[in-house]
């Protein structure tokens, strides 16, 4: 295989990680959604590249789903929601961006440390991919932990899920990737609809999960 292919794959994967960092950094909801769109696009690109590289046509489907569903439908509906809920301008206080960034970097390092030795036998492209994927997953999780706003948590979750798709695509000739990505898309759809349907705003004045927890009011 020529180095160029690998390099492009790297660049894309790296870009994905970078975007995750941007997500961590961004604190305005509308901004978040834009970055997520970018995230999705990059994902679909890298998946497509994998498809080409492994010449596994079904991955194109996954890529397609990624573009259409994640880069178009989801952001669109999310925007609708935050406008409905009139929170599109809210700036979320993210405790200590610097700290979060440091943790993020630590997590990336960790994922490399964990993955590279583990995948010594796998071919280089897969190795890099899986390592980056793990980084993205961890970053997504970190975002979910640091954000209190439902929408941003969902975005965190979706970025995490993008990481998974990346990993799945990176795993050579893995069957059912399409099915899995579809299943995941359904899941996410559910989440989005969830917020939408449960009309959290009506019930809890805002989507702040913190408030939402207070509903329990020490119920045990």
């Amino acid at each position: 295989m020529d180095l160029l292919t690998i390099d492009i794959a790297h660049v894309l994967a790296g870009a994905l990680v970078l975007t995750s960092f941007m997500l961590l950094y961004q604190d305005r909801l509308s901004g978040l959604i834009n970055i997520y769109t970018l995230h999705a696009v990059v994902l679909s690109l890298s998946v497509a590249w994998q498809a080409y590289y492994q010449d596994a046509p079904h991955l194109y489907v996954t890529a397609g789903i990624a573009v259409i569903f994640k880069a178009v439908i989801i952001p669109f509906s999310l925007r609708r929601i935050i406008e409905r809920l009139r929170i599109h301008r809210t700036v979320e206080v993210v405790g200590g961006v610097g700290v979060t960034m440091l943790i993020g970097i630590f997590l990336t390092a960790l994922s490399l440390v964990v993955m590279l030795p583990a995948t010594a036998s796998a071919d280089p492209l897969a190795r890099e991919d899986i390592a980056f994927a793990l980084a993205i997953v961890l970053l997504g999780l970190l975002m979910m932990v640091t954000r209190r706003n439902a929408v941003s948590q969902i975005i965190g979750f979706m970025s995490l899920e993008n990481g998974l798709i990346l990993a799945a695509a990176g795993a050579h000739g893995m069957p059912l990737v399409v099915e899995i990505s579809v299943a995941f898309s359904i899941l996410i759809a559910f989440i989005v609809i969830g917020i939408f349907l449960f009309r959290i705003r009506e019930r809890f004045d805002n989507v702040d999960l913190f408030e939402l927890d207070r509903v329990r009011g020490g119920r045990s």
Partner: protein, 665 residues
Amino acid sequence: MPLYLALICVGALLAVSVYAIVQRRNPDISRNVYRLCIALCGVLFLAAVMPRGAHVVSTTLPLGLPWIGMHFRIDVLSAFFLAVVNLGGAAASAYAIGYGAHEKDPMRVLPFYPAFLAGMNVVVLADDAFAFLVAWEFMSLASWALVLTHHHEAENRRAGFVYLLMASFGGFALLMAFGVLGGVGGAYDFASIRESTKEAWKSGLILALAMVGMGSKAGLAPLHIWLPLAHPAAPSHVSALMSGVMTKVAVYGFIRVVFDLLGPPAFWWSVEPMTFGAASALIGVLFATIQSDLKKLLAYSTIENIGIIFIALGLALAFKANGLALPAALAFTAALFHVFNHSLFKSLLFFGAGAVLSGSGERSIERLGGLIHSMPKTAFLFLGGCVAISALPPLNGFVSEWLVFQAILLSPSLPQWTVKLLVPAIGVALALSAALGAGCYIRAYGVAFLGRPRSEAARVAQDPDRWSLGTMAALLALCLLAGLLPSLLIDTISPAAKDFVGGRMPAQAELAWLSIAPIAQSRSSYNGLLVFVFILFSAYSAKWVIHKFGSSRSRRAPAWDCGYIEKSPTTQYTASSFAQPIRRTLGVIAFSVRERLDMPAPGEMRAARLSVDIKDRIFDYLYAPLTRAVETCASGLNILGLLSIQEYLALVFGALVFLLVLVAI
């Protein structure tokens, strides 16, 4: 043959409890159930005493752990305890035919009562760890339900809770003990446990666990706290069973594990049972002496007697470990003898307490008094029980205690100095508890039955029905019999001694005048029958002489009491005032007593009052901190139920990162 008979009877007992549930509408269900129980216990008793073809009969049923099955077995020991259990069971059932009529909601007793009996029987018959523990816990469970019979009183609910909790604590201890005994392979049947070899530390561990497990059920200090709560809570015939019989089942378990399964003992094993036994004997009797609730008092005195039994067992261990077969047999026999005695008179006393309860509706002796006039029959029978349990000749209580003393007096033959010097100290404890016990029952009987009635209820109290009286009379007769002809009982016990401590006391039957001599007549001997005859003879001769030569006239007059006759019966000595000297002298050590006297100034017109509060130190220093610790931990951890989603996510995240780091390294 006897084994199958016994198992069938156990099955029948369980069937009886089903029958009780099915027939719950039937008006005289209670009478029927108890009648059936008498019959079945009777058959079981026969099965215990009937001659067995082989020395040991055993069988296996395809129940329980599939690859082991349920093993059952009758040997001399289980036969003896089977007899004790079913004697007590039959007595309780007979008593309950009359007493059960007072039960408001009989359906809270009837289904569980036969199950309880069945459980106790199976424990004695079981021959593998699983069957033993199933029966053991089942016994606790059934008795728990019985303790909750009067579940409307909050303290009964608490009693039930504490009881079952302690029971399962003990259960877990036994579980672990059997785990070690069974080994990694899980050979849980007693036969292969006997074969297996145990290292020293293992047997030490098992001994400790057995002490905890069996002790918690027998009411050994400091695991006794549940006993004074639970025994009084149940209906009196059940209390009698729990105190008189169930504790003995625990003793059986201890003997089975320590004398049988654990193999040849080391001398230091004896220290544990002896010290804890002595502690229980003292604690039990001291607390009994200050109780004013009749049934609580009896429960505490059960703790004392269990202590005595464990002392004897400890002695037996010490002697056995040093290959002194004869003394070991003596101590072992003493233990079993006391088991038998206690099951008799403790049942008798609880029945008496039940009669008092149903006759007067009073449990606190402070509001009783003069019952000897209102319920003379009960008074007489109860007196018999008191004499017996106070270890006074010529009744049976004395014989077993005398045997224990004889065993203690053989301690010089022990080679190890620790034990040699420990034993006399144990002897002091034993003597002290015996003497205090007598004092305790003087107080109980004197306050409850003698003097003048302190309440209307006590004045109009009635003797119970024929069944109850008959049962009590029968038990008293047995006590007297065992006291006058101890040789018969000793000879029936000695085969068990032969099998479990490898020696037997010399056959007593052929001694002259039916007296007993544990070792040799030159060393010590006692003849209850002769003493009894002597006493009767001298008493009646004195009476005859006096009536012949002196006067036999007498007239009634108001009590003199140094010239001042006080009207109100409240000026009598109360139970608490009776206990005051002992409270003063020993109270400070044993239980943290606080007496507060509120004496009005001269001229003030209010009554002076003395309030005494007594705290169980063991509870304060052992159990209270435990509960507090659990409470604090529970409240501390409770946060985990109230976190926000992102905090929970943080937990997961943390776990993930931690594990990844672990993997990475």
